[in-house]
Amino acid sequence: MKVFIMPPNSLILFDLVERFGHEPLSAMKAIAERVTDLEIDSPPINVTSEDVKKGLKYAGIEVPSGIRGRLALWGPLIDEAEAAIIMEDAPYYFGCVGCHRTNEMVKYLLRKKGIPILEIPYPTNEEEAKFMVTKIKEFLEGLK
């Protein structure tokens, strides 16, 4: 199944989803397609003003361009998602998209879809880390 991960650039969540036989829907997927497209020239991640307009599908014109640009990347992945893992209160180095408002909107769009979602807090010690991996494993296995 296609599993959206939140934060969408978390390498650990990406790896876990892949290990348990699912397809992670991540920022790496959305951005890789762009940065390898020689036709687009809007570094560093090749989001163009046209993309920002596409973000209007997910948020209105009064919403700041940075949010619409992010949603232009994650939105189509959310549309594709069949399940999702949301990590709450993750520190920057675990993964982050930079904008709190976008985070809230992404979580809302996922919940609104009615797909299976695992919402789990970021672990603060080894015990919690083991618990987190176990929960993710159970969730992903349950999707099969």
């Binding site: 993309d51 920002v52 700041p64 361009s65 619409r68 930079g98 709190h100 408002r101």
Partner: protein, 408 residues
């Protein structure tokens, strides 16, 4: 290469990062991001005292702290966040204050949309580079020799001839074709001064048409209007030392600039809508069937409180004008409301992006409209200084700075 530190949130996701870098590159600068260790972000946010929810805004703060502690070397600072982001706007403004309190780096703030293009950023970037590279020139307080300055503006073209720090000739006309307008303004200013072009030792040019006019007249100085106008304003107002705020409301845009010893250290530029410029007052004058030169006196005789006018959009502003006339209001009250509306916009848009320093010097073509000065006074709660020849700031500044090329 001039290094402009970029403290921003959302530029890469708005498709404008390349535009920012392009604008910097055109003026010989490079955008740089102060290095921050992820583990230092929380400490920086704590030191700063404002903890936003968005991680990228925290990163902006951490980068500002790096500059403040001189852990990263930069020549100027560009602070930007998404237009309409409330959290971004709060952080942007507080970072600007923090950087100004802890460093002497020139700062410009900007709120962008996905439509922001390099052209819109060019004058701001050019001004940052000028402040860094031409510090000695900008420190000049006296004009020497015989020089001329031309301000090729969007609405009017102005020329001024100065000899040994005294204005001896000046002229202005509405801008039509850029180069012929500049030539005509200069010719008439020279005629008033009683000197020939061949006697002029140096020409300085500023304004929208500066490049084409500068090339044609072989100008020694071709420089953007933010730094040139600031210099002209403090020179004309005789406020070269100490701090000041310059409010320059021109024909098509407006600028708010803070200076220290005549050198800008923070500035903003507006001009999205004609409603915050002299153009709106021109439209109002035309609709009231009075000459623009009479609008100020009319406004001074009126009471803006009687009319609800909001020229955030000039079209809606004129609709308000038509409605208020239809309701039987006097043209004096309408003129007063129009001036007040423009002043209110300058206050709401530009003056929120800088910290006003005393004294306030009001310049630009609209400073000749007494009602605009009254309106700014009402809004600021203090009398702005309007120097003699206040519409000639660009030409005066260009002539003053051009004289810097005459001394070895």
């Amino acid at each position: 290469m001039i290094k402009i530190a970029q403290l921003s949130c959302g530029t890469e996701y708005s498709g404008v990062q390349a535009e920012i870098e392009k604008a910097a590159s055109i003026v010989g600068a490079k955008m740089v991001a102060p290095d921050v260790d992820l583990k230092d972000i929380d400490a920086a946010v704590e030191e700063f005292g404002f903890s936003p929810s968005s991680p990228q805004l925290k990163m902006m703060i951490a980068r500002a702290v790096q500059l403040a502690h001189k852990r990263y070397d930069a020549d100027a600072v560009f602070i930007a966040s998404c237009f309409r982001c409330a959290e971004g706007a709060l952080v942007r403004n507080e970072i600007r204050r923090y950087v100004q309190n802890h460093t002497r780096l020139p700062v410009v703030t900007y709120s962008f949309t996905e439509r922001t293009k390099s052209g819109q950023l060019l004058t701001r970037m050019e001004a940052l580079v000028t402040i860094v590279t031409r510090k000695d020139l900008l420190a000049r307080e006296r004009q020497v020799g015989l020089t001329a300055g031309i301000d090729s503006g969007s609405t009017t073209t102005k020329a001024m001839v100065i000899r040994d720090n005294e204005v001896i000739g000046k002229y202005w006309l509405p801008t039509a074709e850029v180069v012929p307008s500049a030539e005509e303004a200069l010719e008439n200013a020279l005629a008033e001064a009683g000197v020939k072009l061949s006697e002029v030792e140096a020409i300085g040019v500023t304004g929208y048409g500066r490049f084409i006019v500068g090339k044609k007249l072989k100008a020694k100085l071709v420089q953007e209007e933010l730094t040139v106008n600031s210099k002209g304003a403090v020179w004309l107002a005789d406020r070269q030392k100490g701090e000041a705020t310059i409010i320059d409301i021109g024909g098509m845009d407006n600028k708010a600039i803070t200076v220290r010893d005549g050198i800008p250290d923070n500035f903003t530029m507006g001009g999205i809508c004609a409603g915050a410029s002299g153009r709106f007052l021109e439209i109002v004058a035309k609709r009231l069937k009075v000459d623009i030169t009479e609008l100020g006196k009319l406004a001074d005789a009126g009471d803006y409180r009687k009319i609800n006018m909001n020229s955030y959009c000039s079209i809606f502003g004129i609709q308000d004008l038509v409605t208020s006339l239809a309701e039987g209001n006097s043209i004096e009250d309408v003129a007063s409301a129009a001036c007040h509306s423009v002043a209110e916009q300058i206050y709401e848009q530009q003056l929120q992006e800088i910290d006003i320093r005393q004294p306030v010097i009001q310049v630009g073509g609209t400073s000749l409209i007494s009602g605009m000065v009254t309106a700014m006074k009402d809004i600021l709660g203090q009398d702005p200084i309007v120097p003699k020849n206040s519409q000639y700031i660009g030409a005066a500044g260009a002539a003053l700075l051009a004289s810097g090329f005459l001394e070895g």
